[in-house]
Structures are given as C-alpha cells and as structure tokens.
C-alpha cells in the first residue's frame, strides 16, 4: 500500500528516548541528581505544552508558570486542607487551568495577534499576587506546607527513584499525546495555520478554534506538572510560579525549538542541566547567584533567537540524521524529507 508523503511519527526516536529515561537513574550518582532529573521531567511536561502552543498555534504564553501554579496550589489546598485524595485532585489540577485558559482565550478575540502574550502576562501577575495575598487559602509568601505524598495500592511515592519514574511516565504520556496530535488532521491544520492562515481558513480550518484548543491543552499539561511538583515537595511557595518561571519555560522552548515536540523536550533537559550546573558552581563561587542564572537565560534566549531561530534541536537532528537512518531504505535525494514506508499500516 502506498504510504509515502507524510511526515511521520518516529517510533524509533520515542523508543530510544524511553530507554534513555529508564536507565538514566542508574547513571546518576547522587540523590540530588535524581531530583534534578525528576524536575527535568516536570519541566518537560510544561515545555511540551508550551512548544505546541508556540510552534503549532503560533502563540506565545508568558503565563505558563501560573497555570503550573494553579495546578500545584489547587491540589495542595484540596489534599492538605480539605483531605481530598490526590488522585481526585489531579482532575481539578487539570481542569482548573483548562478553564482559565478557555476564558482567557475567549476574551482574546479567539487568539488573534499577540494579545495572548499580554493576557497571559497579566494573568501570571494576578495569580502571583493571589498566591501571596490570599493567605487564608495559600498561606502566603512563606509557602504552603504539609502536602501529602502520592500513594497507589499501598505504595508511597517519595522523592527519589520512584518519583522520578512516576514523573517521567507522565512526561512520556504527554510526549506521546502531543506527537499523536501533531500527526493528525488537527496537527496538519495547526501547521497549516502557521504557514498561511488565509489558505488554512479557505480550506475550512477554524483557526481560532484550534489555537484555542492547543492553548487549553498547554494549560492542562502545565496543571499536571504542577500537581506532580506539589506532591513531590512537602511545601510549595509562590516564588516558583512567577514571571521568572514563565520565562524559564519560554527559554526552554526557544532553546530547543518549537517546530517539533522533541525540541521542547530537549530544551527542558538542557536548561535543567545548565541550571543544575550553575547552582553547583554557585555553591563554590560567591558571585554566581540566582541573578546570574537569570542573566544567563536572557543571554541564551538572545543568542538562540539571533543565530538559531529554529532552536537547537532541528540543527542537531539534521546532523544526526545520517546516523539515525539505519533502516537500509533507499535514501531519497536532497529536498525530499521524511519519506517513510508503511509504518502505520
């Protein structure tokens, strides 16, 4: 059966990545490194959602950390204050950000132009203020303590290897769902909007609707990440969910590149690694503070935007391609990209 001509999902890439994730804990020597690798998974979930929004809906959100915070605080309050099961509050941690995204998106005239960046920026500031000031619920700036651990069939996920695997199971799920979306009629519709919105709508694509759906999905992913973060830590505080955080997520996506799901994953991993490295240095060298980290991210953003506007991942993928094509299928020349056989059959 003819099956060529579609940019297909690479199961091999996914399989290789999964193996890497599975064996990584055995290569990391300290529990601090495991914790960092767990954070990398949490950030990956947020970054993948933001990557979909930026690369496929052509929209920027400067409030992703706020959705992340809504997820974290909603589960913290529901479980610690009201004694609800964390598995039940997962639903709230997903739907609350989704609802907010829906409302924000609707007021933004169906996501035209750059209004969304402004709206999410404002939303992020509002959330941060709420988290600090609404002390009755959030306990204010000093942080919310006493978040219960996740339990499943009598097994408790504590910080460490078990939590690492839990987080990455969610991250892989989010990656797979995103890949599926991209390789569907919705994914094609979204990609088409990016190239020509006029042609897209003439083909009957309701561009506003799909941009909105992707925005909602990105908020849901951030909510899941927030939920994971809350139950990993005993306490959370507003500082993790401010503009700094949103810009950090943005940096991950820009650095990795938003034209593919893997770009965002790559960016999340790389930024987490850089941040861990800088923090390790900071404990030895006094002038390397968290301000230094922010300057570094700003610098990275600038350099990438100027020299590699597509992000690092596409450039690296292009270099790696000859090594990855070990299927023995005859390579097509030059411009023909991503020709695959009948993998989907």
């Amino acid at each position: 059966m003819k099956r060529k001509g579609i940019q297909q999902m690479s199961w091999k890439g996914l399989a290789a990545f999964t193996v890497l994730i599975l064996i990584l804990p055995f290569l990391l020597s300290t529990s601090l490194m495991i914790t960092k690798a767990t954070f990398a998974g949490i950030y990956t979930i947020v970054a993948v959602g933001l990557g979909l929004l930026m690369g496929f809906a052509g929209q920027i959100s400067l409030g992703q950390a706020a959705f992340y915070g809504v997820g974290a605080y909603s589960t913290a309050i529901l479980t610690a204050t009201f004694g609800i099961s964390p598995w039940l509050s997962l639903l709230i941690a997903i739907t609350a950000p989704a609802l907010i995204a829906y409302i924000l998106g609707h007021t933004m005239a169906r996501l035209h132009g750059y209004y969304l960046a402004m709206a999410t920026l404002a939303f992020g500031i509002v959330i941060h203020v709420l988290l600090v000031e609404w002390k009755g619920f959030t306990k204010g700036a000093s942080g919310f303590y006493g978040i219960p651990k996740l339990e499943l069939f009598g097994f408790t996920f504590t910080q460490g290897i078990s939590y690492y695997y839990l987080v990455w199971a969610f991250a892989l799920l989010v990656i797979i769902l995103s890949l599926n979306i991209i390789h569907s009629r919705i994914g094609r519709a979204l990609r088409s909007i990016h190239d020509s919105e006029v042609a897209s709508s003439s083909m009957g694509v309701d561009t506003g609707r799909y941009k909105m759906q992707v925005f909602i999905i990105s908020a849901m992913f951030a909510g899941i990440a927030g939920w994971l973060f809350a139950h990993m830590s005993y306490s959370i505080s507003p500082g993790s969910f401010g503009l700094d955080g949103s810009i950090l997520f943005l940096t991950m996506v820009v650095l990795g590149g938003s034209t593919s799901v893997w770009g965002a994953v790559f960016g999340a991993l790389l930024i987490t690694a850089i941040s861990s490295f800088v923090q390790a240095l900071g404990s030895k060298i006094s002038f390397i503070t968290s301000d230094f980290e922010h300057v570094l991210y700003g610098l990275i953003l600038m350099l990438v935007v100027i020299f590699l506007p597509q992000g690092l991942f596409p450039a690296i993928a292009a270099k790696l391609k000859p090594f990855l094509e070990f299927t023995g299928r005859k390579k097509k020349s030059g411009s023909i990209t991503a020709v695959k056989g009948d993998q989907r059959a």
Binding site: I6, N180, I181, S184, R185, R188, R191, S201, S202, R344
Partner: protein, 261 residues
C-alpha cells in the same frame, strides 16, 4: 433553483480606494465563467469577498441560496467554495501530500482528543484522508513530488498543488485567481486541459486569468471589470468586440503587450 453564485451590487472600499463598485452578476451550475480586466481592476478583491476572506462594504453575496458575505472564511469551504491564490499560499513546511490532506479537513471531524488518544474513528478518518488526497495528487500529476516539502517546489508545481488542495475540499465552485501566472507555454496548456477535466467533474469554475487565449478557450461566459466596475458580460466573442472592453484594455499601458483582446 437558486443560482449557484449571486453577487448583488457589491462595493468594496479600502480607505479611499474603491476596489469594487456596484458589481452584480450571477451564474448557474456547471459553467466556466471568466473574469478579466486590467491590473488593479478589482478581480482578486472580488474573489476575496466570494471566498469570505473579507466582507464587502456594501452589497450581498449569495451561494446556493445562502447568504455568505458575513460568514467567516472557514465556513464557506464546507458550503462548497474553494480557491487558489494569485500570490501563492501553499503550506511551505508541509509536504505536497500533507498540503492536499489539509484540503480534506472539513470532510472529516475527529477532534483533538481523539487525535491525542488515537481513537479508532481518528485512525479510520486518517486512512480516508490519505486515500482521497492521493487521488487529487494523481489528478493533477504531482505523484513524483508528493513527499517533497512544498517550499522546495518550483512555481509550476505549486500552482498544481494549490489546484489539488482546492479540489480536495470537493467544491461546487472553484475560484482560480491567475492560476497560469508565471507558467510557460507548455505548463499553461497543461493547466487549461486540467481546467476542462475539473469541469467534467461537475465543478463550476470562476477563472481570473491574464492569458487571454486560456480564458477565451475555457470560459462559457466572461465578465469584464475595469476600475472596480463591471463593464461587460457575455460570450468571448461579445466581450472581445465590446468597445468599452477594447478601450479599457487599450487605455492601459501595462496591458498593451499582452492585450490580445
């Protein structure tokens, strides 16, 4: 039976520029209608209104008995209007086949969640989309470049791609805005053959074209615009002999070289 397309007294102003002024005409199914006129006459503007890219300043547009001039663009495709663009609007970073697959968007319906979870309905639809997109690729003869990213194709192939993509929406009315612009003689001849083939599928076609031989050959009827106004309408013979048409073309320096009217 209402006419397929009815344009009623349509005026379009861009600030001080009057791109269309009181244009009216209508046509029935299964016809090829040519729309000609010197550069800047307002042909593309009229097409943009018929495809609901922007609304007219005044007047109404009806399609198959339904008023369409206030609809958002994405809602006219399901009614049966498809188009190509004078200034190409291909999806550059998608393959040729994927471009055409976007044309099948509205004939399928699975949503973002069934896509994410690969539900059976989404998989089945994907199969249909793939098969039907291939049929259109074969129809215009782009099989050998189906897997090429559209941004890498030469102009001639891009024009064919826009045609295939528009056909994939299964239109009742197809708007072709200078589909032969920039094509060589051989490609132009191929294009006019294709237009006949499309017509044989029962599709009505509204053609804007500068190549007079092509327009005269394919059109059953021709509408002539000049400076936003309709100045003539009739068979190719009739408009060729119409003094206002001759004057419009001869009065326009740019058109003299190609003016075979």
């Amino acid at each position: 039976m209402p006419d397929l397309l009815e344009v009623k007294n349509v005026t379009k102003k861009f600030g001080g520029v009057v791109a269309n002024q009181g244009v009216s005409f209508s046509f029935e199914s299964e016809k090829v209608i040519g729309l000609i006129g010197p550069n800047g006459a307002g042909k593309s503007t009229l097409f943009n209104m018929v495809s609901a890219i922007f609304p007219p300043t005044e007047g109404e547009i009806w399609f198959a008995g339904k008023r369409i001039d206030r609809l958002p663009a994405f809602k006219v495709s399901p009614l049966g209007i498809a188009r190509t663009f004078q200034n190409l609007q291909v999806f550059k970073r998608m393959t040729v086949l994927e471009n055409v697959m976007v044309g099948l968007h509205t004939s399928t319906s699975s949503g973002i969640l069934s896509a994410a979870f690969k539900l059976p309905k989404a998989k089945k639809e994907e199969e249909t989309i793939y098969q039907q997109a291939w049929e259109e690729i074969e129809f215009v003869g782009l099989e050998d470049v189906a897997a090429v990213e559209a941004g890498n194709l030469p102009l001639g192939k891009l024009r064919l791609l826009e045609l295939a993509r528009a056909l994939a929406t299964r239109p009742k009315l197809l708007l072709l805005d200078e589909i032969a612009a920039g094509l060589n003689h051989q490609e132009t001849a191929g294009m006019s053959d294709l237009i006949f083939k499309v017509r044989d599928r029962g599709v009505s076609i509204f053609v804007v074209e500068h190549d007079m031989d092509l327009v005269m050959r394919v059109s059953d009827r021709i509408i002539v615009l000049d400076q936003g106004e309709k100045i003539a309408e009739g068979t190719s013979k009739e408009v060729q002999n119409d003094p206002r048409v001759i004057e419009a073309y001869l009065g326009n320096d740019e058109e003299k070289e190609e003016g075979t009217v």
